[in-house]
Amino acid sequence: MWLDRLYTVGIDVGSNSIKTVLMEHDDNGSEAKLLFSDLSKIRKRETKLVAEQSFEQVLSRASLTPDDIAYVATTGEGDMVDFRRGHFYSMTAHSRGAIHLNSAVRSVVDGGAMHGKAFAIDERSKVLTYKMTSQCASGSGQFLENIARYLGIPLEDVGALSKESTSPEMVSGICAVLAETDVINMVSRGISASDILKGIHLSMARRLVGLLRGVSAEGEVMITGGLANDTGFVAAIQEIADSENMNVRFNTHELSIFAGAIGAAIWGAFRHKKLAQSELQHQ
């Protein structure tokens, strides 16, 4: 059946939250428009369930049914989503999403809950090189969340507080779990929350800038993933990059956190057309 409008859904299954977008595409697939988005924290619930709910959420807002969706594309830990049609690897999706949000970017930093990734892309969003953090959560989004919790500060306030810092406390390579002691220690030494947070932002930024250097990033860099919402982190990463004389400018977009989902939805449309064509050829 041919709808005059093509709808696809992209679901980015993160370790922390699930991001779902519904997109509408024009006939030749060159224009894609975001209709609705949903972000659901997993919070110890079953991932699969959260994904389903998130999917239903966006559909109901658009008053669509699953049958109206041409392609459900997952990215991230999409294995859990059994109603997907196809899966794209996260860098493939994030890079596409980043280009969609800002066609000028040539590098992407994806700051997620567990891993940090940096990759260089071309104008078609093809991933040229990439670097990822290792199997240690130190310096990850989760790390930051833990610290915020130990400090008793809501995640939303972290950015503003960090920017108030005047003399950031140096931290590096501390365990995401044992950080609690270090943080309590800093508090008891009379270091302010904003200096602690800024110190942590700087240390996270240093790691990610290291990755970016590894992919020889230059020019416009898009921050995707949840960390893009953290203005303190964004400021810190720019600061570090500048101090190391890197010629990069960091971009964020209010939809940065949805970049993976958006990219997946766009690739979904692309594959859908490819598949439809080859079906036509077969007939």
Binding site: M91, T92, R124, K126, V127, Q135
Partner: protein
């Protein structure tokens, strides 16, 4: 035999870290067995002494390391730990000796550790010449081989004649030939020889009696041609860097599932170190020496006199029609990892796409690796310009 049956046999061999096959073989033949570490040892000599060569490639993720860690710091690769763990838990008792080929400092030092840990056992460091002149390196290597031969004669209690060696050479030539066929088939029709299966079958060469292994591969060739298998939309990959410590099976599967068909690799390199037949002559030691000096493929542990780094890898890519290269190296493996930037430079010049990751034989989480190879495959597939 069906593919499934063959695979089950290989899986059993793979999973058997108690080496029941070796024990059984020894009883059946009333002869000894000599273990060796990767990459290569002249198995022909062991065979010529009537003994069973047994390739030891660590214990993968099959063994919990309880004591092995006592011998190695965290920044040393994994294979020597699990090897020692097998040793100190008496699993390698069935071996009458161990050979440690000169491929890196870790294996080199392991030879001394073995001497200390198992004082009664034969443990030998096999030095390979890095000088490939017949008069220089050749003379030295001949001597090494003669030394080995004398040792094996002592261990097996029998004289080893030139004919004995030639007989073994013939058996291994046969084995090499079938391996070549298998690789050729995979290049031609990769879906018939999935990576996982190819790996297991080759891996069996570590343990199985050479004639049995040759027969097994033949069976597989026949069986797989009869199989109906879906052709998957995978990219073609040459995998390199994994000549010593092996990735766990789960990781090999994950590679395949992330959209990569491996069409050439350096797994079990020892069995393919000399791709061509070794001639049968009146000077068998000389033939083995020549084969080593002139007929071995490139690997990180071997000095390249002409400095044509990457040429061999590029020829692998060309021959197999691969879309790209994956460098998969064990963490903390100096030879493989130091080789990598040079190889990558060479590929860059040829505009061959590549990606790389590190693993350890007991890596349990493949997510990050799958993410990387998947993105790599995506990039080749979606833009198709490779």
């Amino acid at each position: 035999m069906t593919v499934q049956e063959i695979l089950r046999q290989c899986e059993d061999l793979y999973n058997d870290i108690d080496f029941a096959y070796v024990r059984d073989w020894k009883t059946r033949h009333g002869a000894g067995a000599i273990g060796y570490m990767p990459v290569y040892v002249p198995r022909e000599l062991i065979r010529a002494a009537g003994m069973l060569p047994v390739g030891i490639m660590g214990a993968g993720d099959l063994l919990e390391i309880i004591k092995g860690d006592a011998y190695f710091q965290s920044y040393i690769c994994h294979i020597p730990r699990s090897t020692i763990e097998m040793g100190v838990s008496n699993r390698l008792d069935c071996l009458d000796g161990m050979l440690f080929p000169a491929i890196c400092d870790v294996i080199r030092n392991l030879s001394g550790m073995w001497k200390l840990l198992f004082p009664g056992k034969y443990a030998k460091y096999v030095d390979f010449p890095q000088n490939f002149d017949a008069e220089l390196g050749g003379t030295f290597y001949r001597h090494e081989l003669r030394g080995l031969l004398a040792d094996f004669a002592r261990i097996s209690g029998r004289e080893i004649s030139n004919d004995d060696i030639n007989e073994a050479i013939v058996l291994y030539n046969e084995n090499r030939r079938v391996i070549r066929e298998l690789y050729a088939l995979r290049v031609e029709r990769p879906h018939l020889v999935p990576t996982y299966e190819m790996y297991l079958i080759l891996r069996a060469s570590n343990i199985l009696d050479v004639a049995e292994h040759t027969a097994l591969m033949r069976d597989y060739l026949t069986a797989t041609l009869r199989e109906e298998r879906p052709v998957r939309d995978n990219i073609r990959i040459v995998l390199t860097g994994a000549f010593c410590e092996q990735p766990p099976l789960g990781l090999i599967r994950a590679l395949e599932n992330s959209g990569c068909n491996i069409v050439d690799d350096d797994w079990m390199l020892g069995a393919r170190y000399m791709p061509d037949d070794i001639p049968v002559t009146a000077d068998a030691i000389g033939a083995l020496t020549d084969a080593y000096l002139t007929g071995t493929v490139a690997t990180a542990s071997k000095y390249e006199e002409d400095g044509n780094k990457g040429a061999y890898l590029i020829s692998q890519v060309t021959r197999s029609g691969a879309d790209g290269v994956i460098f998969a190296a064990p963490s903390f493996c100096d030879p493989a990892l130091l080789e990598r930037p040079m190889q990558q430079e060479a590929l860059k010049r040829e505009k061959i796409p590549y990606t790389s990751f590190k693993y350890s034989e007991d890596t349990g989480q493949y997510q990050v690796i799958r993410e990387q190879t998947g993105t790599f495959a995506d990039a080749i597939k979606l833009w198709g310009d490779a």
